[in-house]
């Protein structure tokens, strides 16, 4: 179990930070309570990205969200990447650090996507060992995010929620619940998203993600949703958020929009909708 000082984000709306929104966000944050950045974009040696992040951190709590650690990878974690992460978390001292239940590196080749893993006793051990190492190196608790799944593995013999529960029990990590990912995976793999939430350890949630998805079809004409982060959050995902908040209470809510990034007012409308969802939560 990992015992360390607790860091927390406020139970308010946040956005994934994009440099083109810098002036609007800093001048008129509105209900915006915090920002999330991708760790890898701030691992350069200096220049504008680092200076801007330092400046933003004086105005907003920051969540550092990693996309390149490959926690679900068969191989060992890349010690150079871990050292860069320790450096970033060290100088920035963010309110939260989170990563994905996925793998992205194989044989030291980085594939730049969040790839799926089967859920078995062996992969629980692998993931838990990697999280232990991350928390040990960073000296803090991390949050683990549930993936968007497009397929399953014949070898899996446990549910994703049981897998996450077991990893939390072994490592003491917290969870980042992406409700869009729940909706996408549930649609793609044929279970109910509400059932997933009912089985999910909501008391471990330190942050909730919301993002847009695209619609496609698989080989048999069945719906296949793609987690694209390129549009507004879909209505059924907002409904799933309400369902979740009723059970979990108010949580930090992040709007993710990473491709075809819109002008700030469109993103601000999503932030306002997240703020409205939080207001409905009983105190």
């Amino acid at each position: 179990m990992f015992d360390a000082p607790q860091y927390t984000l406020p139970a308010k709306p946040g956005v994934g930070y994009k440099p083109q929104h810098y002036s609007e966000i800093t001048a008129q944050p509105g209900p915006l309570g915090w920002l999330e950045v991708h760790a890898e974009n701030y691992m350069g040696d200096g220049g504008r990205p680092i200076a801007q992040l330092r400046h933003l951190s004086e105005q907003f709590p920051i969540s550092v969200h990693g996309v390149g650690l490959s926690i679900g990878g068969e191989g060992r974690l890349d010690p150079d990447h871990l050292a860069r992460l320790k450096h970033l978390v060290g100088w920035l001292n963010p309110a939260s650090f989170s990563e994905h239940l996925a793998w992205s590196t194989h044989d030291s080749h980085f594939l730049n996507d969040l790839l799926p893993l089967p859920y078995t006793a062996a992969t629980v051990t692998r993931v838990a060992d990697h999280i232990d190492e991350v928390q040990e190196v960073l000296g803090r608790k991390m949050l683990l995010e549930n993936p968007s799944s497009y397929l399953a593995f014949a070898e899996s013999d446990m549910s994703e929620t049981d897998f996450l529960r077991e990893v939390v029990a072994r490592t003491g990590c917290g969870l980042l619940l992406d409700v869009n990912n729940v909706f996408v995976s549930a649609t793609n793999l044929g279970y109910t998203p509400q059932g997933y939430i009912d089985n999910y350890p909501l008391d471990q949630v330190g942050e909730i993600h919301l993002g847009g998805h695209d619609e496609d079809h698989d080989d048999h004409g069945a719906p296949l949703l793609i987690d694209s982060h390129g549009r507004e959050v879909a209505d059924p995902v907002w409904a799933l958020l309400d369902y979740t908040l009723e059970r979990a209470g108010a949580k930090p809510l992040l709007i993710e929009w990473d491709t075809d990034v819109p002008e700030w007012p469109i993103l601000a409308a999503e932030v306002a909708r997240a703020a409205a969802a939080l207001e409905l939560v009983p105190a």
Binding site: G44, D45, I50, G68, P118, L151, A152
Partner: protein, 245 residues
């Protein structure tokens, strides 16, 4: 029916391979199209990273050519770190050997200039020394002094008009390039890298400084034709000298 990550990776990188046997749809049936989502994500995300790294090369060859070329590059040069800001650093060497690009001999040097701009943007910050500090050094001591250039300084030499080609494709109303050799000095006064057209003598001189040679040695390496006052003035104005020792 275990799917190893080696098998999964091989399937992702080779569109002609069948999906790994142990992947299933929600009903437990084998599936190809679902595996294709990951194939597509990997190829598109790496290609997009290259498009944003090489905007001028992209404009020069067009989107269709660039994406086809990127598909070949990414399968032979997968990233070796998760830092996409540095992905594509082998592009100049790749382009020198890439058959379909042989009719565009300037392309590798344009790619090298784009890499240098990106490296400069992300380079470490360093406080510049002022003209007064340099002025306080006695003329005979100056020749033995070592001038440290900012980590954001880059020098790109070419036998093609890379400076003009970059300007023409990235700056409104820039003049059309004419055929000649051009060398570029990149400085970063604050956050935005700036390009300066420099002579062969300047390039030799600045490269010698970057290699750590004393000013006198760098001068002799530059050969005749170097305007020392002009090049030092440029470096000082751009905040490109960070230490004199």
């Amino acid at each position: 029916m275990i799917v190893t990550q080696s098998e999964f990776t091989a399937g992702i990188l080779d569109p002609n391979r069948p999906a790994p046997e142990g992947v299933r749809d929600g009903a437990g049936a084998p599936t190809t199209k679902r595996f294709d989502v990951y194939r597509n994500n990997v190829a598109v995300s790496l290609t997009d990273a290259l498009v944003s790294a090489f905007p001028v090369v992209h404009k020069l060859v067009g989107d269709e050519f660039f994406r086809a070329m990127a598909g070949v590059y990414l399968r032979t040069h997968l990233p070796d770190t998760a830092l996409m800001m540095y992905y594509g650093d082998k592009m100049p060497k790749f382009l020198r050997r890439f058959g379909p690009a042989q009719s565009l001999p300037y392309l590798p040097d344009v790619a090298a200039l784009e890499i240098a701009m990106r490296e400069s943007y992300h380079a470490a910050d360093a406080a510049p020394v002022s003209a007064e500090v340099l002025g306080q050094i006695a003329p005979d001591a100056l020749m033995a002094a070592t001038l440290t250039l900012s980590p954001a300084v880059r020098i790109v030499q070419s036998s093609h008009p890379i400076y003009a080609m970059w300007q023409f494709n990235m700056v409104a109303d820039a003049p059309k390039p004419t055929k000649r050799a051009e060398n570029v000095l990149i400085t970063r006064p604050q956050f935005d890298p700036a390009q300066h057209l420099i002579t062969d003598a300047d390039a030799l001189f600045l490269t010698a400084l970057q290699e750590g040679h004393a000013l006198g040695v760098a001068l002799s390496k530059a050969g005749p034709g170097l305007d020392l006052g002009a090049v030092l003035g440029l470096l000082l104005r751009q905040g490109a000298i960070t230490k004199i020792s």
